[in-house]
Amino acid sequence: MTNGFYSYFADPVQWAWAGVMFWLVLGFAALLLQGSQRLLIRLVFPLGALGALFIAGVGVAGLLLPASAVILPIGLPDLPFHLRLDALSAFFMVLLGGAAFGITVYAMGYFRNMAAGPLALLILWYHLFLGGMVTVMLADDAYAFMVAWEVMALSSYFLVTTDHDLPEIRHAGFLYLLIAHVGAVALLLCFGVLQGGHGDYTFDTMRLAELTPFWASAAYLLALFGFGAKAGIVPMHVWLPEAHPAAPSPVSALMSGVMLKTAIYGLLRVTFDLLNVQIGWWGTLALALGLITALYGVIFAAVQSDMKRLLAWSSIENVGVILAGFGLTLIFYTDGKGAMAALTLTAVLYHSINHAFFKGLLFLGTGAVLHATGERRMGKLGGLIRTMPWTAWLTLIGALAIAGLPPLNGFVSEWLLLQAFLLTPNLTQPYLNMVIPVAAASVALAAALAAYVVVKFYGVIFLGQPRDAALQHAHEASWPKRLGMLWLAAGCVLLGLFPAQVIGWLSPVVQLLTKQTLVNDGNWLMLAPVSAERASYAPLIFFAVVGVVLLLTFIWVRRVYHGRVRRSDPWDCGYPEQDARMQDSAEGFGQPIRQIFEVFMKVERETPDPFSRTPHYHGASLDKIWFILYEPIARLTGWLSEQAGRLQHGRIQWYLIYSFATLIFLLVFTTR
């Protein structure tokens, strides 16, 4: 403080807080600018995007510089806000800033036609949401963390219910709010356990608290439950396929791409940083939960017919993969295999940032389609690659990335994770040696099913014949939308082509959590995490070879032969009648998966009468967990409140008697 004003901005943590404040000011300024819709779109969103870029930059600085902390004079009288920026926070800030920049640029185009009043409010919630997420990553005491967590949850609730005149969106928002708060209660309890009876809720005290294995496990389980509710881990996932699609597309992109990662951040923070002991079975539990989540998510993604809902289910799958990686990290870490834990953690972090980029991109792509056609049901779309080439080709990059195909980014993290699974024979516990190959098989199965989902998603929406005549006039996305998608697509490509560099940037985080770094045995072109003898992957060479062979083949075919093309009607085995309705619908494409995995679903089907002139088909594959777990809970809650309701008569005498009885009871109870 002695150096005057500039000392306020000496450390990355202060810059980060300045970024948050900038967003808050921007959000409230939007309320004042309600008069000018143009200004809101043309000024506030670009400034917000610059803020995101700034946050990403601060994150990069945080990765390079040592950890810094600051105490802010806000908060409770004896517990001011403690903020701290270390490598882990910094990495997630890079993730947030990088994805949010593209999404905010896109939002400029997406909300262009919104009325000024609701738009100003939306901008406020949007920036509060961004600021809340950054503060979650910066918080260094439980109070600040919970305040930021709630800001994030509430602002995203208001964002989800932007179109609150639709009853199903209000319903989705309510479900989201409910489960977010069940999770938040678990987190509160978790911090209560973590402080170990000191009564001091700063993270520094928690790091020093010596917990017994029982209490440490209790804290871990509470954290897993609380963060799991936010991340959408089965069986706490039910809100996710409702809430994420309900929000406007840029918000869906933020929620799926970034907000789910705050839960991963919290889990990493609590497990590796705040807790002093880690126990082996924690990892096995997380691994099992992660695999169940991944498979459950991808199976349901394959049977969805609403494009945004499909992406939401696919987010559940990706969170499952990340959680499985987290579990494996814990297993290695508690087994004393630091180097392997470092590799697995790298895969986890890599997949987190990859998911932010490709899922953000895909949600933005569906947003562009939704704006152009007004349709979310895939069964009403089709053939958009011809009317919306920009959106289609950019979305293709995201689709290939999420399917885990080389040379894009999804493949790199999948590759790293599978390499980690291949290292398990060195574990000391023999039963894990047996279980983990099966886990690897499940991850591979989930990845292969993801390819199925992607072909369905992309093929039904963008390829084929338009299933509705109006689609012929679908307009291409506006320039801000294209730029936003371009940014995220570029992220997918670059993260895929330069893994050796990315791993270098991740090493401070890995060092912080596992006390080990991952050494790349390859050169700048080549990724070789353990040793070059053992495994290597060089995406740039891969890309170059495919590109060169492609070009050579093209030139050769054109030069030696000819490039003549004749256009005609499709052949289709000679069937003369060609109709868009003869293509696979979304339900039709998912039918094999539905048939194979029918045990997990409750299938509703309504087939039309064969002689009907206006045939109507309805099919839905519903999540059984909702009926097995949640409906009984809801019924029980209803029954309990009904019983409690009997106490209510509306007569003052009775209420006086209640108060009197309580008083007597308390007197007896306390003076005993």
Binding site: L400, K456, Q583
Partner: protein, 314 residues
């Protein structure tokens, strides 16, 4: 290093050029076994030549993706053929992609083919794409598990290292490798669209998978796809040979062993092709929803192989 690069280029080119020959050999064997008079072994080349000379007929509504996909698929398969050791085990290019990346290449080609099939929007195209993805979602992890078994033994996912380890082990029948070999056979049959999962010789809508996807292709695009299919069959055969019967392959820098390695490779391919034709002749095509069971078995066998490796061999 430079001989390595030359060898790499020569091997890849040779694979690309000779792959249709293997297809011709399998077709010839099949014709003999079925009592038909066989087409010449060079028939695939004649077909390719004919196709390249024809005018391409493309549906009115085909998008650029449809025209781009054949080149992409061909490039992927050429890359895959370049990674797998056939006659020499010294491939300077192979560190760029290990076995997991190899599975990724196959997946990339498959996704492009399935997307291209859906592009025109005919009933058959999307039907083929859906069935292809159904077959592959079990075949792909099963293939990965086969590779994992080999990787656990070799402590590496690099193909040359795996092959060198497996080729220089004491000769014995290893249970894990046996399971993996059976699984690999089943997977290759499915991935190469052969009986009993698919029938390359049919255009019956009830049964076709691969053929349904390429119905709309003609001329040079079809030629590239057919060539890629031949390359895929060759790559899978070479993979099977490299993993399960690697003996005779030339070690790193051992140029004198090359002629012998070439002979061994040709002999193994002839035998393998004949065996494929034989098994195709004696089995019938499975109903479509039996195919997941067939592949599920392959998947389980592959996982079992891996578990047995831990139980018995470590």
């Amino acid at each position: 290093m430079s001989t390595g690069i030359l060898l790499q280029l020569a091997q890849t080119l040779l694979a690309i050029l000779l792959a249709p020959l293997l297809m011709g050999w399998v077709n010839q064997c099949r014709a003999w076994l079925q009592g038909r008079s066989a087409p010449p072994i060079t028939q695939p080349y004649r077909t390719l030549k004919k196709l390249f000379h024809k005018d391409a007929v493309i549906a009115h509504n085909a998008s650029p993706l449809f025209r781009f996909a054949p080149y992409m698929i061909f490039a992927c398969m050429a890359l895959a053929a370049g990674i797998v050791p056939t006659i020499a085990n010294d491939l300077p290019f192979s560190p760029a992609a290990d076995v997991i990346a190899l599975v990724g290449i196959f997946a990339l080609a498959r996704v492009f083919l399935a997307l291209a099939a859906m592009d025109i929007g005919t009933a058959f195209g999307s039907l083929g794409a859906r069935r292809e993805m159904l077959v592959s979602f079990l075949a792909e992890p099963a293939l990965l598990m086969v590779f994992f078994t080999a990787s656990f033994i070799a402590q590496s996912t690099e193909l040359p290292v795996i092959v060198a380890t497996l080729a220089h082990r004491e000769f014995a029948i290893y249970p894990s490798i046996t399971f993996a070999a059976v699984a690999f056979w089943m997977i290759s049959v499915a991935e190469n669209a052969r009986i009993p999962v698919d029938n390359p010789g049919t255009h019956l809508e009830l049964t076709m998978i691969h053929e349904a996807m390429i119905l709309e292709y003609s001329a040079r695009h079809l030629a590239l796809i057919e060539w890629a299919v031949a390359l895929k069959l060759f790559t899978y055969s070479a993979l099977g040979i490299a993993l399960f019967v690697p003996w005779g392959i030339a070690a790193q820098g051992d140029l004198a062993a090359l002629p012998l390695a070439l002979l061994a490779m040709v002999a193994k391919l002839l035998l393998g092709g004949a065996a494929l034709a034989f098994l195709e002749t004696i089995s019938a095509k499975l109903r479509l929803f039996r195919a997941p069971e067939f592949l599920g078995t392959a998947f389980l066998l592959a996982v079992l192989g891996m578990l047995i490796h831990f139980l018995l061999e470590v």
